[in-house]
Amino acid sequence: MSARRLVMAWLGLMALGAAELAASFLPLPHAWRPLIIAPGVLMILIVAVTFMEVTEGPTIVRAFALAALFWLFILLALGAADPLTRTDYPTPQARVAPPAGA
């Protein structure tokens, strides 16, 4: 890791932070707004690669980092699967044809 690369990384982080902030002003629909985090994910990658040197050092460092991401994904994906699909089954009365004119 050279000082030059660190400076580049810092500049990149600042630029991505600005991009993320700018993106938050886009008029996105509610469901799509979490995508604003995309530049933030890149920032996290830069921090991990340049400041934390995840690509250097023993292999198990990468294994531990990937394990953390995998289990985080499991927690969020299986945990969110329930609320995201929960209201799909209304009570049966709701499926009675709606009265005309309503």
């Binding site: 629909p29 209201t87 709701a94 709606p98 005309a100 004119g101």
Partner: protein, 314 residues
């Protein structure tokens, strides 16, 4: 001593078949394990002179084959269990709706006709019963072992449970989600009656008038009509809130986009948490009635709103 459990609903018989299958598979697996275990520890005990011959060859194919076979049996059990379970989410349309409210530590039941009971539930035999359930405090669980059904009862939302009783009799009802000090006292009975007997029971206990009429009283008491004035075609441009006539069962376009069907859950949530699903075209100005209105009154309100035909003035 009771060593058998009555099968008092259609579901009970089918769940019992599944349980029998599970028992047979379990017994077979256990018998196989025990038989091999006993055979080997006798035959190959250290003092035995039995000639072991060459060490058995570990076969990769053998391991894979029986692993696959196990997986297949498991898959079959999964499908069987899931099919019966899915049906619990799909009550028939003509089911008789009864409201159940759990609170520490009792079950309150309200029939459509306004009949009320505590820690007991009277139902007619042979008819699908749909329980619409909620809790006033912690999580409870409505469990009737004789019907092989149970479901958690949560605060601030409706959960449903349905069954078709097939046998006249009195069956136990338990709360099976630990709910505090007197959890063990939160039990009661389900009385399954012949239809004529049930009608008689309704008539004898129906003095209070029907639930919808009581709901109208609640509606007036809380001044709901002050805003929800609109009947079809009559409201002025300043009407602050949508009409409730004919609302039940109809699709409601939401301010945030999307459409929900106005079922019990929607009506309930709109009373206690009106900001969550606002009708398109209206301002989110309705205050929350959470904490001000009891679940029993909400049940009445919902029954009242359900009773309103389109165009009828609230």
């Amino acid at each position: 001593m009771m060593l058998s459990l009555p099968r008092a609903s259609e579901n009970a018989a089918e769940v019992d078949h599944l349980l029998w299958a599970l028992l047979i598979i379990s017994a077979a697996v256990l018998a196989l394990v025990m038989a091999l275990l006993l055979r080997y520890i006798v035959k190959y005990r250290a003092s035995s002179e039995f000639d072991r011959g060459a060490e058995a060859q570990k076969s990769w194919r053998f391991e894979s084959a029986w692993t696959a076979a196990t997986l297949l049996i498991f898959l079959g059990l999964f499908v069987w269990g899931a099919r019966l379970y899915v049906r619990l989410f799909d009550p028939p349309r003509d089911a008789l709706t009864i409201y159940v409210i759990g609170k520490q530590w009792m079950w309150k039941v309200e029939h459509i006709g306004g009949q009320r009971e505590i820690n007991s539930l009277h139902v007619p035999v042979g008819r699908a019963i749909l329980l619409v359930m909620t809790s006033e405090d912690v999580i409870h669980d409505f469990s009737v072992p004789a019907f092989r059904v149970k479901h958690d009862v949560l605060p601030d939302r409706y959960e449903t449970l349905w069954f078709t009783p097939t046998r006249v009799g009195t069956y136990r009802l338990y709360c099976t989600q630990f709910c505090g000090v007197d959890h063990a006292k939160m039990h009661g009975e389900v009385v399954v009656m012949s239809p004529p007997a049930f009608e008689r029971w309704l008539a004898q206990n129906g003095g209070a008038g029907d639930l919808a009429r009581e709901g109208r009283a609640v509606f007036l008491r809380f001044g709901c009509g002050g805003c929800h004035v609109g009947t079809a075609g009559e409201g002025s441009a300043t009407v602050p809130a949508p009409s409730l006539a004919g609302l039940y069962g109809s699709p409601v376009p939401l301010a945030g986009g999307g459409v929900v069907v106005a079922d019990e859950r929607y009506l309930h949530d709109s009373i206690v948490d009106p900001g969550r699903e606002v009708v398109a075209g209206y301002e989110p100005i309705m205050p929350s009635f959470a904490g001000q209105i009891g679940e029993e009154d909400i049940v009445k309100l919902v029954a009242y709103i359900k009773s309103l035909a389109p165009g009828e003035r609230p």
